[in-house]
């Protein structure tokens, strides 16, 4: 049987969801101080570096789709292509694809779980999203509560590739939350968590990279209508939905059927455009992105009988960790003999 792509994350979340509030648990395990210490300083398992790397590697099948051998690398903050602008007063016009992904409805978890359990659940979902973005060459710019802001593209990446990567990452994140986590929350009688994602493309002339803030409290960021709109469109998305700006469609001209025009809702009223500058005749549309259709029609992805995604093509990439640690492995097996009953 093929394993679920996000199995490691799903199993962890299922485990956390089985925890009750501590007050409801039997007390007096009999290991006194150790227990108290654990209770007051619970270990945040999701932050363990080895665990993160192992979970990241567990998504290795995504390499089949990207054609890249993505390596685990903790990166957050200035986009490497524009880091030279940090703490300078320089700026640079350059295109970027901005994505805002938010995990919604986590507040309901507090009714049933202690904060450390809620943290473990939310951070595990967030990490699954981060790791997915890394596979698609995304640069996680900022974490915002339960959400994240990610840039795709930059110097050396074509605009087409950047758009493709952003759409794939958004599709896989939505797939994970919608399909893999679907039953877990319902089984525990907890409101289901869902994602909302907004993506937009800001071309070279529309996107200015520069430093913002001051001293240590600063970051290299973009000022672009389309970065702002990505955030705005994320708020327009349905549960587990992805909304994209009109600019994205020009890079998917042969696949317009994946996009459905969506009116902009503001205070209950529907408006035809997500943004307009009437004097300039600028009117910008947003579209719902049918990510499920996009995944199913991808030439390297199929669905098995159980609805799990199966990847076509070479999926096992040699583990270089083995080659680099041969001596250590040989040392480990000295004198060791496994048996077979």
């Amino acid at each position: 049987m093929k394993e679920k792509l996000y199995k490691n994350y799903v199993d962890d979340i299922a485990h956390y969801l089985r925890q009750g509030k501590k007050d409801n648990l039997e007390k007096g395990f009999g290991y006194g101080q150790l227990n108290e210490k654990l209770a007051s300083h619970p270990k945040m398992l999701w932050s363990d570096k080895t665990k993160n790397e192992a979970n990241f590697r567990s998504l290795g099948a995504l390499n089949t789709v990207t054609g890249l051998n993505a390596k685990y690398e903790e990166k957050l903050g200035a986009h490497p292509g524009f880091s030279h602008l940090k703490t300078t007063n320089g700026s640079e016009y350059h295109y970027i694809v901005s994505m805002f992904a938010d995990v919604r409805n986590s507040t309901g978890l507090f009714k049933k779980y202690d904060p450390d359990v809620v943290a473990n659940i939310c951070r595990t979902i967030q990490l699954a999203a981060i790791h997915t973005c890394w596979y698609f060459d995304g640069y996680v710019h900022r974490l915002q509560g339960d959400g994240l802001m990610v840039y795709f593209g930059g110097k050396g990446t074509t605009k087409q590739k950047a758009v493709d990567n952003a759409l794939m990452a958004a599709s896989f994140i939505s797939y994970f939350v919608k399909n893999d986590l679907r039953n877990l929350f319902e089984e525990q009688g907890v409101n289901r968590i869902y994602t909302r994602i907004g993506i937009d493309f800001g071309d070279d002339k529309d996107t200015l990279w520069h430093n913002a803030g001051i001293g240590e409290c600063s970051e290299v960021t973009t000022t672009s209508l389309h970065t702002s709109l990505a955030c705005k469109m994320q708020a327009q998305a349905e549960s587990n939905g992805v909304v994209v700006g009109d600019n994205i469609l020009s890079y998917k001209s042969t696949h317009k059927d994946y996009f459905v025009y969506k009116k902009y809702k503001k205070n209950g009223d529907e408006q035809p455009y997500v943004y307009e500058i009437p004097d300039e005749g600028f009117r910008y549309k947003q579209h719902d992105f049918s990510w499920e259709k996009y995944l199913k029609n991808h030439p390297q992805i199929q669905e098995d009988e159980e609805g799990n995604l199966v990847f076509i093509g070479p999926s096992i990439i040699p583990n270089i960790g083995v080659q680099q640690n041969i001596n250590y492995l040989q040392q480990n097996v000295t004198g060791y003999k496994p048996y077979l009953k």
């Binding site: 394993e3 199995k7 490691n8 199993d11 962890d12 485990h15 395990f29 009999g30 290991y31 150790l34 227990n35 654990l38 270990k43 398992l45 363990d48 570096k49 080895t50 665990k51 790397e53 192992a54 590697r57 567990s58 583990n319 960790g321 083995v322 080659q323 640690n325 041969i326 250590y328 492995l329 040989q330 480990n332 097996v333 000295t334 004198g335 060791y336 003999k337 496994p338 048996y339 077979l340 009953k341």
Partner: protein
């Protein structure tokens, strides 16, 4: 004689009960979760991370560990639950995924002396999974293994008694089984005339951890 396995030589703290064992195990193995007890069998699941001395990940392996109810006098059962290792005799895994990390009689001895999960994982899992990775990568020159099933049991007796003389092993087992108690000053069961304490007493004590009914069946292996 079989090499003496000391599982706790590197441990610098005490583990006095299951709760402490569980806490230490989860602390040292961030990939594992404790699932609770089902029919008195404690279950852990998740991933074992094989790391190098610098703490860098070499590979992770999806496993379930079951702790039989006789804990701490029980040898944990490890089941492989992902596709990283083929479920074949070659990799010492049954079709159901149960991994055989040690010969049953050695396992019996360790369990008899009481065995903590923390120590079991620390000792056996890096060895077994290193063995697997080397085998998968075709680096087999230093790999050893017990023969499969009866062949391995014969090898264990041969190593234990330091002989490949089938007649001598058979005689040793027959005399061992008929002895009510292992007395230091009795004649050694191997028949060389020396006292047990000067000859195979350690081997006889080793066998105490395995039931006499099982050893009785083994005699047929040397007939």
């Amino acid at each position: 004689m079989l090499p003496d396995i000391n599982l706790i030589s590197n441990r610098r703290f005490k583990i006095r009960n299951f709760q402490e064992d569980k806490a230490a195990t989860l602390e040292a193995n961030p990939g594992l979760r404790y699932d609770g007890k089902i029919d008195k069998i404690s279950r852990f699941s998740g991933n074992f991370y094989l790391t190098n001395p610098n703490g860098e990940l070499i590979e992770s392996f999806g496993i379930i560990i079951l702790i039989p109810k006789m804990y701490p006098n029980a040898f944990p059962v490890v089941v492989s639950v992902n596709n990283k290792i083929e479920k074949t005799d070659e990799f010492h895994i049954s079709k159901d995924g149960e991994i055989c990390v040690e010969h049953t009689y050695v396992a019996n001895k360790l369990a008899n002396a009481s065995l903590r999960l923390y120590d079991f994982i620390n000792y056996y899992l890096p060895r077994y999974f290193s063995w697997v990775l080397l085998k998968q990568n075709g680096i087999t020159e230093n790999l050893q293994e017990w023969g499969h099933r009866d062949k391995g049991t014969i090898q264990v007796y041969e190593t234990l008694l330091d002989t490949s003389d089938k007649g001598m092993i058979k005689q040793f087992l027959e005399r061992y089984l008929s002895a009510v108690k292992i007395r230091r000053n009795d004649k050694c069961y191997c028949g060389n005339g020396r006292k047990l304490k000067q000859c195979h007493r350690e081997a006889a004590l080793f066998l105490k951890s395995t039931s006499k009914k099982i050893i009785e069946k083994d005699i047929a292996l040397f007939s």
